[in-house]
């Protein structure tokens, strides 16, 4: 019963995507993807490359999109290892016969062992470690600079204190210069990568969850539900996103970076909802849905197991563009002074401080974070475009 259904689905999908059976395989790996076919004729099966596999191959052929993908991978590595790249807290240290990982404090304040607070380190590790325990050792981050405070004189061997103002230009000590009263731009940008990527992913994740669910329900169930959801989409679409965000943000008293991600998600789902709705309207008339319904498959299961995988490709495109948009909006909010509160050094926050001192011409406070935002947005847009071209059935290569 089930594999008959799977077959119907498979053929429908194939017809739908206009892919042609070509690749011959002798029952090794591709069968995992389609166990039904494997069970039917086990000796020699003709299996086309799956839709996602084909798309991935087409995506890989676009050099710029791949480059963008590598760039995002690179940024993710920086984001994950940010406390090990720039920081003033040791990655690992041995202190009073115990191993500690103080750098975890950059991810979350509570992850820094309270013993250092008790021993009055006052966030300065190098001298204090030696003084309070001569046998201690530590592995330090690559760059001794902190995103939350300026480094003072004599803190680290012969290092000078961070300059600020016109002296804060890029030097070998402060690679990207300094902002405010000696905060290091490089360290802030490295740690800001975490926020930039997180904002993009989380806000778009929320938007996708809302948009896909509502769109699927509206498209599949139809009737009064569809009318209600379509009105809701229209209402949210008609209010400019920034207007809605500013209004919502004013309602929340103390805004954290998570609130901002939530707001971006809550306002950014309409495009995806519309697309998903359209796809569901189209797909619910297909044979495999009718077959599933005849077999008595539940409504939710049809929607999310049978229809959704087929509707996902067009939705991937606004997801990629949505990530780019989310990063931009967050940076713009920070620039307007509506961003996350100070302990979070986002790229927009550095821009904000650069804008305040614009007339003094401290270019490094604008150029580095600005280029960071630009390159990230560009990368996501290129990826989005790559997905668009790779998943477009009209552009499918018939020989594939």
């Amino acid at each position: 019963m089930w594999h008959r259904l799977n077959q119907i689905r498979a053929t429908a999908r194939k017809r739908f995507r206009r892919s042609v059976l070509t690749r011959t395989q002798d029952g090794e790996n591709p069968q995992q993807k389609n166990p039904a076919m494997n069970r039917n004729d086990s000796d020699r099966v003709i299996v086309s490359a799956g839709f996602w596999e084909q798309s991935w191959q087409r995506f890989r052929r676009r050099r710029l999109s791949m480059l963008a993908l590598y760039f995002i991978g690179f940024l993710s590595v920086i984001a994950i290892f940010s406390p090990m790249i720039a920081g003033t807290k040791p990655i690992v240290c041995r202190y009073k016969d115990q191993l500690y990982f103080p750098c975890m404090g950059y991810y979350n304040r509570n992850w820094e062992n309270p013993v250092f607070q008790k021993d009055r380190f006052r966030r300065v590790y190098p001298g204090n470690l030696e003084r309070k325990d001569p046998d201690s050792w530590a592995i330090w981050p690559l760059v001794y600079q902190d995103p939350h405070r300026p480094v003072r004189k004599g803190e680290w061997e012969a290092m000078k204190g961070n300059p600020w103002g016109p002296e804060g230009r890029p030097t070998s000590q402060n690679w990207f210069g300094t902002y405010k009263t000696g905060f290091d731009v490089f360290a802030s940008m490295v740690h800001g990568t975490r926020i930039a990527l997180l904002v993009g992913f989380v806000s778009t994740g929320i938007a996708a969850a809302i948009g896909i669910t509502l769109g699927a329900v509206a498209g599949y169930i139809g009737g009064i539900v569809d009318i209600a959801i379509s009105r809701l989409i229209e209402v949210v679409m008609c209010i400019p996103a920034l207007v809605l965000i500013l209004c919502l943000q004013a309602v929340i008293d103390k805004v954290s970076i998570w609130n901002i991600m939530m707001l971006l998600g809550l306002t950014g789902w309409t495009g995806m909802a519309r697309l998903t709705r359209g796809e569901f309207l189209k797909l619910k008339e297909t044979e495999f849905v009718a077959a599933a319904r005849c077999l008595g498959v539940g409504r939710a299961r049809i929607m999310f197991r049978h229809v959704l995988p087929n509707a996902l490709a067009p939705v991937m495109v606004p997801i990629a563009f949505g990530i780019a948009g989310g990063i931009q909006t967050e940076a713009a909010l920070s620039l307007l002074g509506f961003g996350a509160p100070p302990p979070n050094p986002s790229w927009g926050t550095i821009l904000h401080s650069g804008r305040e001192t614009l007339q003094s011409g401290y270019w490094w406070q604008l150029v580095f974070p600005g280029m960071g935002i630009f390159l990230t947005v560009l990368a996501y847009n290129l990826i989005g475009e790559g997905i668009q071209e790779a998943t477009d059935p009209r552009l499918a290569d018939p020989r594939n």
Binding site: C238, P240, L246, C247, A324, Q359, G361, V377
Partner: protein, 330 residues
């Protein structure tokens, strides 16, 4: 057609009503009221008495429960009375009238500029499709399209208003006119306004220019493969005539839709860019009205944005039928 229009308008009214409910609810939920963001209230020596606050709340209608206040606002709005701004003590309609000029000054200029540049560039890109110069142009445009406009605004300000200040290329940093604008002669005024407009217009234009250009090219690519284009070529028509009269005319349909969708941004201004350039337009007005909890202004502007968005969509659909006789609404 008429019944279609009536249906669309009714649905639009329903949407509008829902939007006003949502926004009214939201702004009344905001902590703080117009009373405690007023600078006059901050002065401790002139602290108003309890009775005064009570009186002012009554004047502003803040003492009423939410639904009553909303009903009151709605009744006035239907009669086109948008209320009086709390912070500026002027009718909101007058405030909007003051601000719409500078906003249009930027948006119309940038719209015209981007259309004028985008169409020839898009056509050029179509003709040279696949050639190195087209690839270079497309890549450049794509890069521009991804360049966040607020970053570009800051870079341009830094370059032209700070680094090149005093030189021949120097441009003003903020605002839409210099101090002492009133005393200038007519010609100097125009020159002054022009200089102030360059940077904001550039920021407004380059993104949409890139977008429209790609849009033109994408549509042209589709049309240029049609049989009737080959026929036109076979008849011996010149390449330019085929390109413009036969191909481009047929890409106008999606172009017209796009025009309808730009309507809200035309009048709505841009919150971020107007903020950066300190341009006294609608976006700036909106931003300040949220900061000052100026309820009537927030409501009026949201109402305006929403009407424009809905109207733009409707106009796009009507134009669509107008340009393409195959489309009929019933």
């Amino acid at each position: 057609m008429v019944s279609y229009l009536v249906r669309r308008l009714l649905v639009g009214l329903l949407t509008l009503w829902l939007i006003t409910c949502l926004i009214y609810g939201l702004i009344r939920l905001m902590p703080g009221s117009p009373l405690d963001t007023d600078p006059a209230m901050m002065d401790p020596s002139k602290m108003p008495s309890k009775a005064d606050i009570q009186r002012m709340q009554e004047v502003y209608g803040l003492d009423k429960p939410l639904h009553e206040a909303y009903w009151h606002w709605l009744k006035n709005a239907v009669r086109l009375d948008l209320g009086t701004s709390y912070s500026q003590k002027k009718p909101v309609a007058e405030l909007i009238g003051d601000r719409i000029g500078p906003t249009l000054q930027l948006s119309v200029t940038s719209l015209l500029l981007s259309y004028l540049l985008a169409v020839p560039m898009g056509l050029y890109a179509t003709v040279r499709s696949g050639q190195p110069d087209e690839r270079g142009l497309s890549f450049l445009l794509y890069t521009l399209y991804s360049f966040p406009s607020f970053v570009a605004a800051l870079f341009l300000q830094l370059l032209f208003a700070v680094k090149l200040e005093g030189t021949w290329f120097g441009l003003p940093l903020l605002g839409n006119h210099s101090n002492g604008y009133e005393e200038l002669t007519e010609l100097d005024r125009i020159w002054d306004s022009f200089k102030h407009m360059i940077l904001p217009v550039a920021c407004f234009t380059y993104g949409s220019l890139a977008y429209y250009c790609r849009f033109v090219k994408a549509n042209m690519e589709e049309v240029i493969r049609q049989d009737y284009i080959r026929t036109a070529h076979a008849k011996g028509l010149g390449p330019i005539r085929v390109l413009i009269h036969h191909a481009f005319r047929n890409t106008l349909i999606p172009f017209v839709t796009l025009l309808g969708l730009t309507l809200p941004s035309l009048l709505g201004g841009a919150i971020i860019l107007e903020g950066i350039f300190n341009w006294p337009g609608m976006g700036r007005l909106f931003f300040m009205s949220i900061l000052q909890r100026d309820y009537p202004t927030i409501m009026s502007l949201t109402l305006m944005f929403s009407i424009l968005t809905l109207l733009g969509q409707l106009l796009a659909d009507i134009f669509y039928a107008f340009v393409d006789p195959r489309i009929r609404y019933t």
